[in-house]
Amino acid sequence: MDGLAGYILRRLLFLPLTLLVVSFATFYITRWGPGDPVSVYSGQYRDEEAFARVRHRYGLDKPVIEQYGIYVQRLVLHGDFGVSFRFRDRSIPDVIGPKIWVSARLGVYAFILTFLIGIPAGVFAAVKQGSWLDPFVISVFLFFQSIPVLVMVPVLVLVFAAKLHWLPPGGFDGVFSTSMILPTVALSLPGIAGVARLARATTLGTLNEDFVRTARAKGLDEMTIMTRHIARNSLVPVMTTVIGLSLVGLIEGALFTETLLGIPGIGRFMFESVNGRDYNVILAVVLMGTTAFVFANLLVDLALIVIDPRVRAGRGAR
């Protein structure tokens, strides 16, 4: 396990460097574009002298490299992400905190749903291996995976809101309302295929294990064997991998779902902030996303090592 601990440590030590490079790239790219927050928020008003005054107040008139130095210094020494231009000098955690909270709860819902459908579907497909049901179940979820979230959301709205009138067509009124059903379904559908396939593969591995044969020989009923012996053993690795992988999909899916359905989450907020050139918000979101991705990737790698010892051996041999 020494090699493994060293591996984790190396990956974590690399994180600050990653954040440094990513933050510099983002910093430079945002300031590169046409327009800046001052000109965006002044609207029709055009007074170069006033613009220059405001830019000077925020330090936007300095060279980009100097601005970046100041930003990093403040961030590292004081944990200060700067202020939002779009929300009149409110601090970044103040502005994005509530948005992240909304998205996080939506993400947890979607994750649970992915899991609730994917695992049974995968186990079912594995048990039915050899019959037409196995490829059929997997193909159905593969089809859902093939539909981009952006395409899925309007179709779901069309069917369940516009035609059937079962669900509200969008908006947001708390996480315990019917308005959360559509985004949750839209976000979870693409991920189910991955979970189901992984669950299928691991279940197939367990199906032929000795302890399963023993359980059968003991005369236990199929249901008990499925839940107590097979599902439990194939579950753990699937879960860990899924948490990591689905985080990536959820962040990207949230951008479309929230924009289309009018949910005040971080995805939609990021979109609005890019259009509004709200530099500090963009940077904070990208840096948090990067940190989350690094941990998610690490988690996936570790899960794969746990699932397949050959990966670990391969790493050691190099």
Partner: protein, 348 residues
Amino acid sequence: MTQLNIELAHAEAGVRAEHSESLTRRSIRRLLRKKIAVACLVVIAVFYTVGAFAPLIAPYGYAEQNLDLSFNGPSLHHPFGTDRNGRDSLSRIILAARTTVVVTLATVATGMVLLPVSLGMLAGYRGGFVDAAINRTGEILSSMPGLPMLLLISATMRPRFVGWVKDFEGKIDVHWWRWLANFTGLCDQSQDATSCHHPLTSSGFADYFLIFAVLSLFGWVGGARLVRTQVLTLRRSEFILAAEASGASTRRILFQHILPNIMPIVIVGASAGLGSIAASEIGLTFLGVGIQPPHPSFGALITDGAPRTVLENHPELLLVPAAIVASLIFAFNLLGDALNDVFTSRAN
């Protein structure tokens, strides 16, 4: 009796072919034996043919408006109806296929084949500093949140990039360039009289290029890692050692011995990536940083079909493009699976 002999002869010939034919031919034959793979290939081939010859097939132009026919339902003249501006939906779908074709082909060629193969081989064969540099760059790129970064880069790059292309077009204002633009249909006098001053920018090809550049920038990492691992394994194999011992040049080893052996992984990786490339273009266009109006793209069609009022009264404007996108990406994914089976079963 003769029938049996003929059959035996055929079977024998089949066995012989199995042993003597090349890896490529055997893989293709195995692929064609799978019914699902063939069906996917047909769907993809139809889509790409329609996309490639879009201007010839589409009955109307993508920007041809007729405001008298705004939001007309499906009819004989307009099988999939017309949109808000009275533009023929069928023609817009056909021309949107061209966008998908150009973007996916360009991105696959660069981001899924050229960059992964060259960088992966370089990292795997050179090792040392080059290897570390490529690996670390890939690690940083893959830890960025992809879509927000794509959004950010396209949003800030686009105006600048289009400016560059315009400058470039101003400088090469020569006869043959005009002729080429006319010949390839980049500029169409009947649609827009001024389009021939800047054929690349006004035809939307500058947008295509930006999208493919951005997608390639983030797309090569996974493929390069796979290639690198494969090269590391191959380096220690006997036939490479033999080639090195017999004094083959590095170039010869890389291109004659290693490249053919990594192509299967590259093909599987590229076919698996095609669907997500098509989806990314649609997403970027929806977010307003991809293909710009009035140029057609499935992203634009879905954005136009998604508002509540359009959805309730003219669902065909959303459902037709949605069904086409879904079946194309589904075909890509199934084909990717089939290819994976074909190449991994080679070992058995």
